[in-house]
Symmetry: C2
Subunit: 303 residues, 2 copies
Amino acid sequence: MLVRTCLALALLIALPAIADEAKKTPTPKELLAKASPAEWRTPDPKNLVYMDLPQGRVILELAQDWSPEHAANIRTLIREHYFDGTQVIRVQDNFVTQWGDPDGDDKKKAKSLGTAKQTLPPEFTRKGGSYTFTPLPDGDVYAPEVGFSEGFPVARDTKAGEAWIAHCYGTVGVARDTGAETGNGSSLYAIIGQAPRNLDRNLAVAGKVLKGMDILSAYPRGGEPMGFYDAPSQRVTIRSVRLAADLPAAERTPIQVLRTDSKTFAALVEAKRNRRDDFYTRPAGKIDLCNINVPVRDPTKKP
Amino acid sequence: MLVRTCLALALLIALPAIADEAKKTPTPKELLAKASPAEWRTPDPKNLVYMDLPQGRVILELAQDWSPEHAANIRTLIREHYFDGTQVIRVQDNFVTQWGDPDGDDKKKAKSLGTAKQTLPPEFTRKGGSYTFTPLPDGDVYAPEVGFSEGFPVARDTKAGEAWIAHCYGTVGVARDTGAETGNGSSLYAIIGQAPRNLDRNLAVAGKVLKGMDILSAYPRGGEPMGFYDAPSQRVTIRSVRLAADLPAAERTPIQVLRTDSKTFAALVEAKRNRRDDFYTRPAGKIDLCNINVPVRDPTKKP
């Protein structure tokens, strides 16, 4: 009798709690607020690039493990202040914002690359090797498998033994001429529209934008073919590009990225696959690789 | 002997031609230039909306066959000049640009809808009925099947007997509150980033932008949550919104859309699935629904 009463009482207490939980699935904001400090990753300052534009600071993370020779060359260019005074030269709607030396294609007028290399091996994919990989459950139109690796959206073909960073919104790639080895990192582009996944495996990915896409995506589109600006006056001049590692700690921008192999990230992906808020009448039940934003935070601010 | 000689001659003439053709697969521009006049569709002026902004004219095509009640209500709003003086109120990066009455949520201050309806049935999907459908060959993460129907990117689930216009870049949707019937077309949004396909089947699609995405996508992003502008001064005021059908022919903007059931469209899709130009070392062999732009032209201009 006591057992039965206790059980009944327990049910009385437990049932509304369960019902409440089902009704009140945590929102992405609540999930993030509850993430443990260990779930946040502090990027290596050697891979953190600050690009200061008149509209504010854009922060990129170099994909050191995916295109090491490009990362090294870009670091050399940054340390020799190559990018200071270069410009945003191209904004093609639903495609890319590209920056670099507007005279880069003119051998006589092009800015010197200093001690950086003029050509690099085409690090378009990564063959073999080990890397963390958190797969996504819903497949992909372009690749046999997709998921995340330390914050980067990754596609792979395990049969072919190849993996690569996908061209999603915010991915930063290395512009090049027709020859596969002609990219050197002196001109980069960020994806500002629908993921142009047909670029995958055809260009080296330098990294991704962690902060400042709202700046890079809102520049006026260029009037020339491919979105190049008609007149030099339309170009935005880059004040400076620096590596976080080269600045005193006080001048660095505090930034952390949610680990993509964390429980909170998995919960966020699931929350986006199946939106539980009242607005959505039919949760999608699916998610595409490039529809997932990896959260970034300023660790000095309270969530 | 004559036959053999003739054959040999024919081969001599034919072979280089074949080799040239293989090398010189026509570019998208060349394919478009060769499209026959019958492959171009002139949208019904009753479905063509001109939204005049300080930066230029945006042209939308209403999806009459997919959300007829919404199309009718939007026409009523346009004809009673509801939109003139309304504003771009929200620009959320990698998501939407939304316009309408900034006081629309405030019952006391909201602009009158005139004779337009306040609520509409939720035309989120199309059940049964017949429509043209040109399927794409590479599948989709979100739906069993995808393709095009008279220029609109469409997803469908034939088992469930449902089809809907997908939220791709440039798709125009009907903003609403939590209730499914609260949308009425007085506030619309255009997708300006990675296709948020989780909106599919949760909102009515009003149509798509045929021209002017370069304007809608380049406005400064709003600083409030969800991209609403902080200050009224940040909002861009819409000069006027008119139906092409209501203007004299001389004031209409000539525009045609490539038929998505045409041979040229099929060739363009294939050219994008497998880029043949020298730049691409590895054609993707695949294409996602929202990676395909439906070409638009001014028929009064030579290609």
